[in-house]
Amino acid sequence: VSFQSRVERTPAGDIRLHLADDERALLREVADELGSLLEEAPDDPSLRRLFPAAHDDEELEREYRELTRGQLDAGRERSIETLRETADRELLTPEEADAWLRALNDARLVLGTRLDITENFDWEAFDANDPQAPELALYAYLSWIQEQLVEAM
């Protein structure tokens, strides 16, 4: 694995991706899984960080959810769909790159919730034999791609 930048901005303002086929396959898989989770298990506890409470008050919170959940879901579905459809693309438009950022961030939040990753998470203690190691590695990979996208944009 080379750690030089895999994402760069072209003079025309598009985003060029230098990603291997297996990385693209992985990203498509992430988009598929996140998409089905949102569609089939919208109340799954691992999604709670995607839909934080806006109010402490229960009644106000219920109203807020009724008002916004549909739109938030639709926005998420769109960005996940874009990631899935453009996973093999070498060049992304700024809009597509923005969708990638949103979808990758959502995937990180869901994984982070599942793995109970917090600010003080001790990455030094990473153990390849940990049963959660593959998901932790995926989390780290998504964070890295996200960082590169942000830097390129």
Partner: protein
């Protein structure tokens, strides 16, 4: 921006409930953790 970095939270919008909810929803769309607080 620095305030949120140092303190973990920051007031980013104020106004009536409807406007504030719209702003909160916009932040939730980006995966940011926003809540409403009545002053």
């Amino acid at each position: 921006m620095l305030e949120v970095h140092h303190n973990g939270k920051s007031v980013v919008s104020s106004g009536g409930r409807e406007k504030a909810e719209l702003d909160v929803a916009r932040l939730h769309a980006y995966g940011l953790w926003a809540t409403m607080q009545q002053d």
